[in-house]
Point group: C2
Chain length 307, copies 2
DNA sequence: TGGTCCGATACCAATTTTGGATCAAATCGC
DNA sequence: GCGATTTGATCCAAAATTGGTATCGGACCA
């Protein structure tokens, strides 16, 4: 098969319509240029240029090949450029796993920030529970996980991007909805909707620990994995629940969301996790964006707290 | 800039994920393969492959480059293939000039036949009068002319593709429309619409000769270049005219078309013309199609005549 | 008909490429 | 653990390719 140098030779001659000038443009002498064109023609089995004694002009096949040749050269250049951009972390793609809950609160901001700062980067988002994310991280199927603790030490790096309060969700007309804050003991006295022990293990364990520390034992009437399912059940009047603050973004009608009493507050943490041997050049770039976003989130959280 | 052989090397390694196997696939040994990859990486300034001791895998930049590389290789192959097809007269494009009149009778059949037999060929059709076609043929701006005599000998080849009778056009209600055939003398007695001496020189000269031979001198009331314009004027009752038989295809309401008396008939000829030094491989192919079409047209004409 | 322009050819020198041998590192099996 | 094996990298001599100089041959021009 032919070589790119030959294609460049041909394009030069076809554009100059003159071997001598084309050779000059290619920084070479005329004889080797003639030879390269001949070789190209022999490889293709097609005469590309009609050499009259005073003029050179492309044959119809040469004309057609010229069009393609220009395209090929353009493509090679853009391929090289793209590879460099990817290596520089300015283009490419990253697979990101995220939990359903984070899609309400953190993922949208992260995606927006990336789109703005890295317009040529493709973010491939895959919703999955934290456990699956850890598995996929290990297998190299996702580059980044946005997940809940616990995080095993083995070859993973991570930092916290979010810590959001758990707040109570009660039916809108419920007597507890009347107060600005809700006491954990009052909540535990109601029929309680909680999280599925595997699919939403983090929240499940969080609540178990929260209640046992407070020496409370609520009556669990339902286990669910998704926050929006829980809110729907609360709305239906089946019981009350504790959900992360991000649930406010869902704007669920008929459900009142109230913070817990100050001394009972508990934060649900979200971590940005990656394999430390992941060589995707986008990783440090996106990690920096994520860290920056998290920093701003925490400082604004402090603001909110101080009000 | 890099070479296609290096791209092929890289694709092989990226697909096999193994230098040895890739080398075997490329019919070479492993050391030069390793080196070609290194050279490619140095040219791009980007590490494309991560060599672990038991595994090779593409870096993100390599992954992106792999996609582009496959595209480049595919394009080179298709470019070579296309060039060969053009050289074989199976693809490509031809510029064809044609007279307005031929667009009613011959061009549609020719285009249809080409589309069917040469689906990958682009026919670029340009309407122009015969004189312009000869000029453009000389300048190489069209490959084929479909035009009227006279044709100069200088470096042109040609053959006749059509000879169509001239027929009389009279307003539908006109007294001459009553007869099945019209006598030239009767026609010449009417106000006569004829052809512009330059733009439609062939028809102009044809009529001049026809009438002078018959020792007739019609009163010319209007000169026009286009057949449909002439028919429109005839329809308006301004006068009568002689038009090529193909005018029947126009289906002009309010105009009666009648053949001349048998001994007065006169044929308008259409020729397929090209420069004998034109190297477009499509030329012989399309000429053959045109000749075939002309042959069938003439034989069917003989049929009509024998009835 | 000689001069000039232009691409092709012949031949030569330099570089590049090739592939065998070898090396170094790491994994696997016993 | 410790060789045996696998895998990519490196070294080196031979071969091929490439580019350059000189020259040729044909065509147009004066």
């Amino acid at each position: 098969m032919f070589e790119l140098s030959q294609v460049r030779c041909f394009v030069a001659v076809a554009e100059e319509l003159h071997f001598g000038r084309a050779a000059a443009r290619l920084n070479m002498t005329q004889p080797p240029l003639s030879r390269q064109i001949q070789i190209l023609e022999r490889i293709l089995g097609v005469k590309l240029l009609q050499r009259g004694n005073r003029l050179v002009r492309p044959t119809p096949a040469g004309q057609s090949f010229l069009t393609e040749a220009r395209l090929i050269l353009k493509l090679t250049e853009s391929a090289a450029l793209l590879a460099r951009r990817v290596a520089d972390g300015k283009a490419g793609s990253v697979n990101i796993g995220f939990t359903a809950a984070s899609s309400y609160s953190y993922v949208p901001e992260l995606v927006a920030a990336c789109r703005q700062q890295l317009p040529d980067v493709e973010l491939i988002l895959k919703e999955m529970v934290s456990g699956d994310q850890l598995k996929r991280l290990g297998a190299g199927e996702i580059d980044i996980g946005l997940l809940r603790p616990p995080i095993p030490r083995s070859g993973l790096q991570f930092f916290r991007v979010k810590a959001e309060r758990m707040i109570a969700a009660v039916p809108a007309g419920h007597k507890l909805a009347a107060a600005a804050t809700i006491d954990l003991a009052d909540l535990a006295a109601e029929p309680f909707i909680t999280y599925a022990p595997y699919e939403a293990r983090y929240f499940h364990d969080l609540l178990v620990e929260l209640f046992s520390r407070a020496a409370l034992a609520p009556v669990y009437v339902q286990h669910l994995a998704q926050i929006h399912s829980i809110l729907a059940i609360v709305q239906a009047g089946v019981g009350v629940a504790l959900v992360p603050e991000a649930a406010e973004k869902l704007q669920f009608k008929g459900v009142a969301l109230r913070p817990l009493a100050d001394d009972q507050q508990r934060a649900a943490e979200l971590y940005f996790v990656w394999r430390d041997d992941n060589d995707n050049p986008l990783l440090p770039v996106i990690a920096a964006i994520a860290r920056d976003l998290a920093g701003r989130a925490f400082s604004s959280e402090v603001d909110t707290g101080s009000r």
